[in-house]
Amino acid sequence: MLSYVAGRLAAIVALAFGISGLVFLMLRLIPGDPVMALLGTQAANPEVVERLRRQLGLDESMASQYVTWLGNLFRGDFGYSYGQQRPVSELIAANFPATLQLTVCALFLSVLLGLAIGIVAALKRNRAADTLGMGLALALMSIPSFWLGLLLILLFAVTWPIFDVVGGTGFKGVVLPAVTLALGTVGFNARFIRSSVLSAQTQKHVITARAKGLSRATVFLRHVLRNSLLPILTVVGIQVGNLLSGTVVVETVFSRPGLGRLLVDAILSKDYLTVQAVVLIIAVIYAGANFVVDLCYPLLDPRIARR
């Protein structure tokens, strides 16, 4: 088990390195000089241009820029965003909690609703509830989140002003964005959970349990659900990634602060250090979430821990 954990951790570190290098390179291959963009009309003065280039360290070779950046990173220094005139760490600190809140709320909602729809559909297989549930799942999967977001705003913030149009991090601000983000993945979860439950129901031990006279509820909770949760857990890990990338759209529609919007703004203005830091953080969160999922497997299936 220990070597398993160590191996996974090493993989995450390697992944972070790989991604940081790739992002670093890609950013510099896209056309556009950030120094000129920062200076505006002052760029007419070559002296000023050179001075800023020196201050940003952009006069050095790409390799040495990368080494400097990595070195600073190990000291916990993400650098300074000249576009936003603040340390990158401050920008992340200001935006990360909002994204975390949104993702966690959406994940919770998505899994909860997905479980509800999926289980009902599986238990009422091939009956009206199943058709309805799966139809709903398909519909939810097909709705683009920017449209759903606008619709929800129109209904629940303009027509019936229960929530805020512009999402802050308060309760009134987070509900609509979280619902928007969650609904896109609910459909997927519901379908997946349905098939997972169905396949668990046909296992031999389930039939045995029924045969020895256990109640329907006991069989379902102890034997069916627990066995069908394992594949669902894997999906949840992947979903953290989907939800994180979904925040880009949702944060824009609801004008919420967050890493997604920070990243888009930074890419558009070629704010190198901010893009590098945010991408790195998102990659680590994604890898970290899957790592946590891996650690959960043994809890659901003790055989994995013994291996």
Binding site: I30, P31, G32, D33, P34, M36, A37, L38, L39, G40, T41, Q42, A43, A44, R51, L52, G83, Q84, Q85, R86, E90, L91, A94, N95, L150, I153, L154, A157, V158, W160, P161, I162, D164, V165, V166, G168, K172, T252, V253, F254, S255, P257, R261, L262, D265, I267, L268, S269, K270
Partner: protein
Amino acid sequence: MTSRKLPALLAAAGLCLSGTAHANELVVGWAETNDTLNPVTTGKRNVGPILSNIFDTLVWISPDFEVEPLLAESWTVSDDGLTYVFKLREDVTFHDGTPFNAAAVVSNVEYITGENTQSKISLGLLGPCAHAEATGEYEVTFTCDEIYAPLLAQMGEPYLGMQSPAAIEEYGAELGQHPVGTGPFKFVSWTPSQSIVLEKNPDYNWMAASLGHDGPAAIDKITFQIVPNPQSRVQQFQSGQSQVMQQTPGLYWKTLTASGKYTELPVEISGLGIFAPINASLFPTDDILVRKAIMYAVDQKALIQLAEAGVYPPSYTPLSVGMLGHDEDAEGKYPYDPEKAKSLLTEAGWEFDGTTWTKDGKTLSVKITAISGKAHYMAQAQAIQGFLSEIGFDAQFEALNAPAWLDLNIDGGSTLTPSQYIGVDPDALHFWFLPDQYFNWSHWTNDELTDLIYQGRSELDHGKRAAIYQKIQDILLDNAVILPIRQNLDLTLADKSVTGITWSGGGFQYFGAASIAE
């Protein structure tokens, strides 16, 4: 919960939530994120209006460009035009309690010109007059290396707002997060990409006379809520969660103003309006006849109709309406005339086979670019593409991110690109038409024009200056190096209960004299 209780509960929830904005507090739906609240280092025009509520300038410019006393009570200009002596108000203190005096002005100028400040807009506004000396406790003298006529008007732009010398000293690189001015509102907080909160400065008593407001502002608190998504901004405003909204998209402006429920504030942003420089160094627009053909082929009114629901007034000359030297008669210069455009192309040696124009084996192809994140530029560029395609141009459109767009246009790789430029003095033209300027995107210079731009700068007589800029506009239009598109307006809407919102010359929303009816 029984079903009967639910509607009542929902109604109750609605009631307590709808009353979030208190009587004397204003929420403003703001369209762009800010880089900093330091007037000296900001590179974003849209930070200006927020700054003008926190900081005062030495002079106030009215929306029609009258220069009035603000922090300076009076001023004199020496006969040679090189020395400006400002007599300052003696009753002004900064928000942090630091007294405002000549030494404070000198500290500000030293900060602006400092090696490590990374001053952007403000340094340019001082021009050759970036030397200030305290010649009395409340008297400051600016000396210019050469005559600089734009100085007084530019002194009133918020980027030259006076900052507390104590704050400059204390905060260093973080000054932009701790703005301390003398304005009608004090800075409270700034949550990046979320909101900026200001509160009333209770000691304020020096508003520009033309605003007719004595004492502190009537509004207790302003929250600029950053809502870059135009649709959300509109919905926020419509649902009453903001009382003021800037940059209303054209289509919404049309429907919302038609309802008669709101106060319309079309804030005039002066300068060169919205325009597209025509690249005179790139084939085929290196030929003046091709450039003129473009001028005849584009119908400004129809373009605005297509791109922005027709809500903006068109422009036919590089200088905005109301600015010194603005040419009223330019409208007749290039009427929409596609036939004329085609005959100019024929005159230039191009042959039309019914679909494409060719000359010496080359097709008549132009590249129109726009910043990808800006919907109105993209729509304008595509409308221009449509007009040019109509007469047979092979018109390509490309959207680019801002840095790539800047690079391409500086290098002269794009034929036409919609753009804006803001200024309170017609000398703003020099950024676009003097040789070696960063923004010389026409990539075209002319000795007579260069001379005239320098003359305009050093002429202190208003009438003579106006005549010079008249000539400059003639040269630019005769050589077809700029395609004027429309006036630059910030379409601002306010709830009827809010009155007295105004703006300073240049287009900077000002809330100092505003109030909210009970």
